[in-house]
Amino acid sequence: MQALLLTAALIFFAIWHILAFDELKTDYKNPIDQCNTLNPLVLSEYLIHAFFCTMFLYAAKWLTLGLNMSLLAYHIWRYISRPVMSGPGLYDPTTIMNADILAYCQKEGWCKLAFYLLALFLTTYMA
């Protein structure tokens, strides 16, 4: 049950990201503001995800854990290779407007959304 709520929260994060990048792309927001709002979310999303990875571990749900470990590994890699910055977060307002990076972030958002939805179904039906 808790896992359901958490997954729902993660889905919310993913949607939030997608919307945020869309806003950037269409010029509605200043990248500095946008990065300031997104950056704190990144770490909390990662922590929530890590948290329920450990929950799966304790519950010995090996299949779900296996699936989620891949995302966890991605998160760790992503955070290690983040640009030089003093605060938490991933996004640098000076590079975020680069078309490649923006497209990558958007794609990442969609993939995560799909992944979390899948996880939601899995937890609902398998729990």
Binding site: N30, I32, V84, M85, S86, T94, M97
Partner: protein, 1116 residues
């Protein structure tokens, strides 16, 4: 008559604005009048002219017109619109145009006229004055409009274009002398007519022509020569390069600028060339801003009658580029002349047209030479002996004439591929290189109540839009159909109603608008300059404060600004010192803040003071500052806190911070650690190109948000981590200057360099609180920006300061297929506040054809632009990946594109390295890039120097980037007058450019290398005695001093030629390159040889080896 009234503008604001218009424009004009221009002049009134024409008193006319307009808009009823006639009168009132050579030249311009048309001097001169005049005068609306309109038409030839002048001159000749003019029926005074006629056309033509036909320029006769010829008429002399664009129409119309104007311009241009650099600078900056005066009322001359008739015929302008309607066809003078009674006007064009044709042909792929396929392994002498000209887009001549000058705006591919697939196949980068704020000798400036823009994409109306009929225009970027606002229907140039296509906005690819208040978020800021000096022990040791303070003292009056200019000073070592310059103090008061962890501003006022009111205190401070810290033993540097303090001081207003730093910051926030390891200098791995902290970046973003730019002067002998420090300038749109090993005694060369660059820095034009937006035709999109700025949205750059020495690059991608369009356009709009407190918008528009085959894409490639863009991309790659990655990417760029060419375009596979003629220098330029300081390996280039070189790649305009990458080499010991240019009364020899290889050097010669910011004259050991004594003024080779940076002025022809050549080179750029004279044993000789890019070095291939390598890869 249709439509209109409703909301012609498309945007509500515009409509609202209308009401206010009348008063504002008038006022503006007045203010604009540049200083140079006497406002009080009689010119205002060209009443004579006007009077004859018009009936109504000006006042009344204006008023009524305005009123009418308002009503029209408000009511929005189409029907309600006043009849055309009334409209005409109205229009004038609402929109005034000034075209002005915004720059200094403008002033001069006006003067000359007198001679030309003594009779009516006042008339011409005055565009500016007119504005006011109209109001007061009774002359009917008609006269006024013309006046208002100033010279707008004139394009701005950049300084560099000088060569072009000559050509212009030739053109001028074509004109029939003034006498012919009389034909002009214009009711207006005769005198005016001639002036206009003769001068006007040429001018216009010139400007554009040159851009298009750059190559031809060289040959053409000297300007001087023709001037004399021209005299008959008015001063048609050679109008300097005005915009060509106007030509077609204008020519036909005979809209001529005032003669006086022209002549003036010519002179100006010439003089500027001849004059020393400083002079040039002046005119460029100061005057530009004053811009208002501008210029020439050119076109006003036309008779109303004539123009009207023309108006009716109304051709669709540019759009018809394929089949040009009679009026628009430039060459087709005959037809146009027929149309117009004022036949004489036609004359100039015919010749011009022809020239252009050939010129453009040359540029085009049509020319057999352009179509040739070159085997680089066999033809090794591909470097032209004259400066490489940018390719001319394969456009119909009429469009090309209107196109933006390639020095301001150019594209890597002058033929845009139809689809991304085709672009990928060509393996060439697609992008733009801009120099948007370049100093221009002449720039049309428009003051109009309504700035006409597309309703959906907000594009500014430009020469490449199409007019569907008189009332509607189709945007060339988004294809939306827009209404033509009522006031745009009136053409102040021709004084004709119903000719929106002849307005200056539609005649000039580069134009500047005076922005109304909708373009301001706050009242325009005053110019604010803050200087932050490092005064630690290390800094005092270098002795830089003396030079800098002296330069500041010398240039205090030349700082761009007005009565609102503010200035302030901060110094720091381990503490931060502020200086109170309160009025009434007998001497500056120093306030020391030692709490660097929590910086605060000790007093809210008097740290930034009005320069005019406190000038004496400021001067006093500058005189004492160098001595104040001579005994300092403090070695720490708290740069971070000092920058924070500076930011806090500047945040309320915005402005420019100039920071002088001499060491690695060691205290407080932003402290850095040395990261350079000398042993690793030569390896391409593990070098620190990325910042070690984001403190400077974040501070820069804060600055950017408050419209503050930070310029960094780094004078350090030690490693100072420019990679981290540079961020402060990079993201706040500042610039970085680096003087390695600066010392006032041990390194006099750097001292001289600092002084010269500082002088330029302090006096150059500056724009505050600027933003630049780049728009492009639907289907294209912007991928990445390069340069110093903060990217605020997909197409918007935030530039707290913009300076005329900054260049930008943009990578583009083709998002949607362009199959149903034949032309694409790019438009950059730079909105800024001038140092005079005016909000202005500078718009450049570039139009290019779309092609569908790979071959055409290759034929239209612009190798310099491609190399420039690749260099920018390579800098990014070095930072995000590694230097070796970037080097590989550069080489691969050549290999990929040449393989694509070989496999897709060449039908029969021949041996050798076959390249299209357009890319014949591509391998050479890429090799030069690999050997450039940014990307070279195997040398002991210091990390900071490498990073500085990378900053320069990103921030320099293309011309200078190419010069630093691939310098020009000339042999100067045997200069002759053969093929020399003559500019005014000087003869400038034009020695051929040599390939950069030691095999071209010889011990019995002297060679000059022009590397952009530096000139090196290498004197061979066995150099002819003649050269030594006649030019260098020394007895023999051994007596050349080890450090020599000046050539003596000797009274010998050899000396005169050499000096003329060197000063000509210097005049072509806004900064002052220092000349070094090198002997064999000079320490700088290594530097000289390093630029010999075709030769082999211990770690890099020679050109031939590089070609072989590429061939091998391509033929795989």
């Amino acid at each position: 008559m249709p439509v209109a009234p409703g909301n012609p503008h498309g945007n509500p604001e515009a409509a609202q604005r209308q009401g206010a218009l009348p008063s504002t424009p008038l006022r503006r004009e007045v203010t604009l009048a540049p200083a140079g221009f006497p406002r009080g002049d009689t010119r205002h009134f060209r009443p004579a002219v006007g009077a004859s024409d018009v009936a109504g008193p000006v006042h009344s006319a204006m008023m009524s017109s305005q009123v009418v307009v308002n009503q029209g808009y408000n009511s929005q009823l189409p029907g309600s619109y006043p009849p055309l006639t009334p409209a005409k009168t109205l229009n004038p009132g609402s929109g005034h145009y000034y075209s002005g050579g915004s720059q200094g030249p403008g002033q001069t311009l006006h003067r000359p006229p007198v001679a030309a048309n003594p009779a009516v001097p006042s008339l011409h001169s005055g565009p500016v004055p007119r504005m006011p005049a109209p109001a007061s005068q009774s002359p009917a609306a008609t006269p006024r409009p013309s006046g208002g309109f100033l010279p707008g038409a004139s394009p701005l030839p950049p300084v560099t274009w000088q060569h072009s002048y000559p050509s212009m001159g030739s053109q001028v000749n074509h004109y029939p002398p003034a006498p012919s003019q009389p034909p002009v029926p214009g009711s207006t005074n005769l005198s005016t007519n001639h002036q206009y006629v003769s001068s006007g056309d040429p001018l216009l033509q010139n400007s554009y022509g040159k851009s298009g036909s750059a190559p031809p320029i060289r040959n053409p006769p000297l300007p001087t020569t023709f001037q004399p010829g021209a005299p008959p008429g008015p001063p048609p002399t050679g109008g300097p390069p005005l915009v060509r664009a106007l030509m077609p129409q204008k020519a036909s119309l005979r809209a001529v600028p005032q003669p006086s104007f022209n002549s003036a311009v010519n002179q100006e241009g010439i003089t500027s060339n001849t004059n020393s650099g400083s002079l040039m600078a002046h005119s460029n900056y100061d005057e530009i801003e004053g811009g208002g005066f501008l210029a020439t009322p050119q076109l006003a001359t036309k008779n109303p009658q004539i123009s009207r008739s023309v108006g009716y015929t109304y051709p669709s302008l540019p759009p018809g580029y394929q089949n040009v309607p009679p009026p628009s066809s430039a060459t087709g003078m005959p037809p146009s002349s027929l149309n117009y009674p004022s036949g004489p006007q036609a004359f100039p064009q015919a010749p011009l047209g022809a020239n252009h044709l050939t010129a453009s042909m040359g540029g085009l792929s049509l020319h057999p030479e352009g179509l040739r396929v070159v085997n680089l392994l066999q033809e090794r002498k591909m470097l032209p002996s004259t400066p490489l000209q940018p390719p001319v887009p394969n456009l119909h001549e009429d469009i090309q004439k209107l196109n933006c000058n390639p020095e301001l705006f150019r594209c890597t591919l002058t033929s845009i591929p139809q689809t991304q697939a085709l672009l990928n196949k060509a393996k060439l980068p697609l992008g733009l290189l801009l120099h948007p704020f370049k100093d221009l000798v002449q720039l049309p400036v428009v003051t109009s109540s309504t700035i006409v823009r597309c309703r959906s994409c907000r594009t500014y109306i430009n020469p490449f839009v199409s007019f569907l009929d008189q009332r509607r225009w189709k945007c060339n970027l988004c294809y939306r159909v827009n209404d033509v606002p009522e006031e745009f229907m009136y053409n102040p140039l021709t004084r004709v109603y119903g000719e929106p296509h002849r307005r200056p906005e539609v005649q000039n690819a580069t134009i500047e608008f005076m922005a109304p208040s909708e373009y301001m978020l706050r009242p325009p800021q005053p110019p604010v300059y803050l200087f932050v000096f490092d005064v630690s022990h290390n800094a005092v040791e270098t002795g830089y404060l003396n030079s800098v303070c002296q330069s500041l003292l010398d240039n205090l009056d030349l700082l761009p600004g007005n009565t609102r200019t503010k200035i302030g000073f901060v110094t720091f070592d381990s503490t931060i010192h502020f200086y109170s310059l309160q009025e009434g103090l007998s001497q500056p008061q120093m306030l020391v803040i030692s709490d660097i962890d929590d910086v605060f501003i000790p007093m809210p006022e008097n740290l930034l003071v009005n320069l005019n009111e406190s000038k004496e205190l400021v001067q006093g401070l500058l005189k004492t500052l160098p001595q104040m810290f001579t005994k300092s033993l403090e070695t720490q540097s708290a740069l971070g806190p000092a920058l924070q303090a500076a930011f806090k001081l500047m945040a309320p207003t915005g402005g420019r911070i100039s920071v002088f730093q001499t060491q690695l910051p060691t205290l407080g926030v932003g402290a850095l650690k040395p990261r350079e390891e000398p042993n690793q200098r030569s390896s391409a791995k593990e070098i620190h190109l990325t910042p070690s902290t984001d403190f400077y970046k974040k501070l820069a973003l804060d600055c950017s948000g408050q419209q503050v730019a930070v310029d960094l002067f780094l004078l350090s002998g030690q490693y100072s981590d420019l990679a981290s420090l540079g961020c402060i300038s990079r993201y706040s749109a500042g610039s970085v200057y680096y003087y390695p090993s600066y010392h006032h005694q041990q390194n006099p060369v750097q001292v001289q360099k600092l002084q010269k660059e500082l002088q330029r820095y302090l006096t150059r034009k500056i724009g505050f609180e600027a933003v630049m937006r780049i728009r492009c035709t639907k289907g294209l999109s912007i991928h990445t920006f390069h340069g110093n700025f903060f990217v605020r949205s997909t197409d918007l750059l935030s530039l707290p300061n913009v300076n005329p020495d900054a260049g930008y690059a943009v990578q583009m991608s083709v998002e949607e297929s362009l199959t149903d369009t034949q032309l694409v356009s790019f438009q950059s709009a730079l909105l800024y506040t001038s140092s005079k407190g005016e909000r202005r918008i500078r718009v450049h528009t570039l139009c290019l054809p779309v092609v569908s085959t790979l071959n055409e894409v290759f034929l239209g490639a612009d190798v310099q632009a491609i190399s420039g863009l690749l260099a920018n991309m390579a800098v990014d790659r070095s930072v995000t990946a590694s230097l070796s990655d970037a080097r590989d990417a550069l080489v691969n760029a050549v290999i990929d594109s040449l393989s694509a060419y070989r496999s897709s375009v060449l039908s029969n596979q021949q041996p050798g390295l076959m390249v299209p003629f357009s890319l014949r220098l591509f391998p050479l330029f890429v090799l030069a890039l690999l050997k450039q300081k940014s990307f070279q390996t195997g040398t002991n280039a210091r990390l900071d120097e490498r990073i500085f070189a990378m900053c320069q790649v990103k921030n320099q305009p293309l011309v200078y980037l190419m010069l630093t990458t691939h310098p020009s080499l000339y042999r100067v010991d045997n200069l002759s007058d053969e093929g020399a240019l003559s500019i005014s009364d000087r003869t400038v020899p034009q020695p051929p450019i040599l390939q950069l290889s030691v095999e071209n050097l010889s011990r019995d010669g002297a060679f000059l290398m022009d590397a952009g910011s530096i000139l090196m004259l290498w004197v061979g050991k066995n150099c002819a005695q003649n050269f030594l004594s006649q030019v260098l003024g020394v007895q023999n080779y051994a007596s050349i001093p080890p450090i020599m940076t000046d050539l003596p002025e000797l009274d010998t022809p050899e000396s005169a030629r050499t000096l003329a050549f060197i000063s000509w080179l210097r005049e072509q750029r806004p900064f002052f390159p220092v000349l070094y004279i090198l002997r064999d044993e000079s320490p700088m000789k290594a530097n000289f040889l390093q630029h010999m890019v075709e030769d082999r070095t211990e770690s890099a291939l020679s050109y031939y080896e590089f070609l072989l390598h590429i061939q091998q890869q391509v033929n795989k």
